[in-house]
């Protein structure tokens, strides 16, 4: 009998999916490109270029050349329709074994978390021994499409079988049809951008301008300090001309942030608080996280940073303002804590994605709010406050930027490394909000 190289090599006996016990899915490490403000350093790089670079960096870091990985899952929020197999095409561009399968994931800004969480579940079930999850986005590579009117004419032209039909179709062309449409960040059902939505939530929760600016400043300072002490050395691989995220402002001050004019919610007049300084800019970049079973990691002598314990997705009805667009993680955390029998105070680190400073602060305030926790989360008591010294301690999206689908990978790899340093059993909470009123939260445990 010849050995089938495609056969699963599980040394622990029966897989959970076949009736055996569940096993741990562990985070081995991560890699990302530096993040770049859009239309800047990566203006000529495509989604595929960036994702391939992030994957190749990961492969190089963990010596996976020629290795067949169980599955690679990644995605991009904004991508061209020709990139239907973006992740598989990127894998084919790496030095991984070309028999490594790959699939696309997309749940807006939580894409990376969904990719990683889904793969972790497959590992726990024994369906996979190894996996890579991540994501990429490039606003600089955003596809432009014909508007619907032009598309209708072009499709009719395509269907036309006779010269007459073709002429008829061509005659429907109007100059206005030449105006392309770019993908927007507006919610289709409300016509409001994410920033405009968050401006309502920030206002409703009474989050002050100063509190937001302070959070933004802390993010920049924490991340700059982390770079300076080499924390990101084994998490980031230079790409293009960048070795660091170019949105990072180590020298930012509260005075500088306070001088910025409101960028969102300007209709709120004096009460508008959200600026370009306390909101994330559009960003390009990619990230990837290596996951595996304990055996798979041990067999290759790879480090084990953390267990991927559990994750939860939530959605809220934001369409007529019943709930804030980016408040879903507040709900998801309540459910995840309940399922895991934990309290909000049990964590050593909190990684709350800074889509906007207002998002983080409104979420924290909601968890402390008795009425919100009772009426909306169905809890007897509020989840309570967190120790702010444990929040985004190495900076987050306000400093790094936020290439939508790449953020989950950035956070997971960063948190896993922090938990590993903290020691076995340490706990970390991830919270990522997403367009469409959705959000994904996760728990990692240090090894």
């Amino acid at each position: 009998m010849t050995e089938n190289p495609q056969q699963q090599t599980s040394s622990t006996g029966t897989a959970a999916i076949a009736g055996g016990p569940l096993r741990q899915a562990v985070v081995i490490g991560g890699n990302r490109t530096p993040f770049a403000r859009s239309h800047g350093a990566y203006a000529s790089a495509s989604n595929k270029d960036l994702l391939t670079a992030a994957l190749n960096g990961l492969v190089a870091r963990f010596g996976l050349q020629g290795e067949r990985i169980g599955e690679v899952a990644a995605g991009a929020v904004i991508k061209h329709s020709r990139d239907f197999n973006l992740t598989r095409e990127s894998v084919l561009g790496t030095v991984l074994d070309h028999s490594t399968p790959a699939h696309e994931v997309q749940i807006a800004c939580a894409t990376g978390m969904e990719a990683i969480g889904g793969l972790a579940n497959k590992i726990r079930l024994g369906q996979l021994d190894s996996a890579i999850g991540g994501g990429v986005d490039s606003i600089s590579d955003a596809p432009l499409v014909f508007n619907d009117a032009a598309r209708s004419v072009l499709m009719e032209l395509n269907r036309a079988r006779t010269v007459q039909d073709r002429i008829k179709a061509v005659l429907r062309f109007r100059p206005g049809h030449l105006a392309p449409e770019a993908p927007g960040t507006e919610e289709p059902r409300t016509g409001l951008s994410m920033g405009e939505h968050q401006a309502r939530t920030t206002h409703r929760w009474g989050i002050t301008r100063q509190a937001q600016d302070e959070l933004a400043l802390a993010s920049h300072h924490h991340m700059a300090a982390a770079y300076d002490r080499g924390f990101f050395d084994d998490l980031v691989t230079p790409f293009g001309t960048l070795t660091r995220d170019n949105n990072l402002r180590a020298d930012s001050t509260l005075e500088k942030l306070a001088s910025l004019k409101p960028a969102f919610g300007r209709d709120l007049g004096e009460e508008a608080t959200m600026t370009a300084g306390n909101s994330t800019p559009l960003t390009d970049g990619a990230s990837a996280v290596l996951l595996g079973s304990e055996d798979w990691a041990a067999a290759r002598g790879l480090p084990v940073l953390a267990d991927f314990v559990d994750f939860e997705t939530a959605a809220v009805d934001f369409v007529d303002g019943q709930e804030g667009l980016l408040m879903a993680p507040a709900y998801a955390v309540a459910r995840l804590l309940q399922r895991q029998g934990l309290t909000l105070q049990d964590f050593d680190y909190y990684e709350i994605h800074e889509a906007f400073a207002g998002t983080v602060l409104a979420t924290l305030k909601a968890w402390e709010d008795e009425e919100f926790c009772r009426e909306r989360l169905g809890l007897d008591a509020p989840l309570g406050p967190i120790d702010r010294a444990r929040l985004n301690v190495n900076g987050s999206s306000l400093a790094a930027g936020h290439p939508f689908a790449a953020t989950g990978g950035r956070i997971t790899a960063t948190l896993a490394k922090m938990l590993h340093k903290k020691g076995p059993g340490s706990l970390g909470l991830v919270s990522v909000c997403a367009a469409g009123g959705q959000g994904i939260v996760a728990i990692l445990r240090g090894r």
Binding site: P188, T190, L192, R200, D267, D320, G321
Partner: protein, 316 residues
């Protein structure tokens, strides 16, 4: 059914004849009810209508949206208004308000009986208002002897500006209430083609919706959105499945095209008792465009507003 274009042509020629002959229009409403038998709303029309509001997705051909039913009955009402025996000229009439009771689902592809009549001639500070009532009946009900089932009834109130009828007292203009915008929940960006797109579906090619010059010639500040387009967009995704609801919309200032409309939507009550209130305004001028309300059941009190009470709008 008389096509809308024919009604506009008839209205134009009546207006021209009246001007030439200095004919005085009649002082009372025609007592006729215009009936249209076996009117069918096709699935193609339903699909075209759904295409106007792409964000809310396809619609259920067994339970058509209220405004699409209105589109089916509107030509009958227009036919009444375009005739020489109607007391006010069709062209230049201002659409003030709509109140609809949507009793049961209206399906596509089923013969409907549409009836249109005019009623409620009433004095208004700026002229005279009239109610056009459209009812839509479906096939006979299940019960023996039940007869055609009333599916939908709607009342549209129009203002004939400057029309003063004998025997009607003058009504003083009420002081305009200060408008305070609610919390913003949505913004509609309406391209210049909005009026033409809605005209292509509804057949309502009133020139004020089609081209800025035509609109100015007819006394508007520019090309404006159809009131029923705004109603349709307000209702898209917010009408309960299976009907059994009422809704109303009161127009204040017209929506110029292209343009942006700010909206505040609030819900009270839960589940089947949910009431939705919508306020739309212009963020730049701070003026209201319309207010609307969607509620379960058939609440005639909320549908038929007493004439004497103050209204939040003022005709422009």
């Amino acid at each position: 059914m008389t096509p809308l274009a024919a009604s506009y042509r008839a209205a134009l020629s009546t207006a021209a004849r009246d001007a030439l002959l200095r004919r005085r229009r009649p002082q009372s409403l025609p007592a006729r009810t215009l009936l249209v038998h076996d009117h069918v709303i096709g699935e193609d029309l339903a699909a075209a209508y759904a295409g106007l509001f792409p964000a809310t997705g396809p619609l259920d051909p067994g339970d058509l949206p209220s405004v699409l039913v209105h589109i089916a009955g509107f030509p009958a009402a227009m036919d009444l208004m375009a005739q020489a025996d109607f007391p006010m000229p069709l062209l230049g009439m201002v659409h003030l308000e709509n109140r609809v009771r949507h009793h049961r689902p209206v399906p596509a592809g089923v013969p409907l009986e549409v009836a249109a009549s005019a009623t409620g001639l009433a004095p208004h500070p700026a002229g005279t208002t009239v109610d056009l009532v459209i009812t839509v009946h479906g096939p006979d009900g299940d019960q023996p002897g039940e007869g055609p089932v009333l599916l939908w009834e709607g009342t549209s109130t129009y203002l004939g500006r400057g029309v003063r009828l004998a025997g009607h007292p003058r009504v003083d203009r009420r002081p305009r209430e200060a408008f305070a915008a609610p919390e913003l929940t949505a913004r509609w960006r309406l391209p210049a083609s909005t009026g033409r797109d809605y005209a292509a579906v509804s057949g309502d090619y009133n020139p004020i919706h089609l081209h800025p010059l035509a609109a100015r010639a007819l006394g508007q500040k520019g090309m404006i959105a159809h009131g029923m387009y705004l109603a349709g967009r307000m209702l898209a995704g917010r009408e309960p499945a299976g009907a059994g609801h009422s809704w109303s919309i009161s127009f204040a200032t017209p929506v110029l095209l292209p343009g942006s409309v700010s909206l505040g939507v609030t819900h009270s009550g839960a589940g089947t008792a949910r009431v939705t209130e919508v306020t739309a305004w212009n963020a730049r001028s701070g003026k209201p465009h319309f207010t609307g309300r969607i509620e379960p059941g058939e609440r005639p009190t909320a549908i038929r507003r007493p004439r004497s009470s103050g209204r939040p709008w003022r005709p422009s």
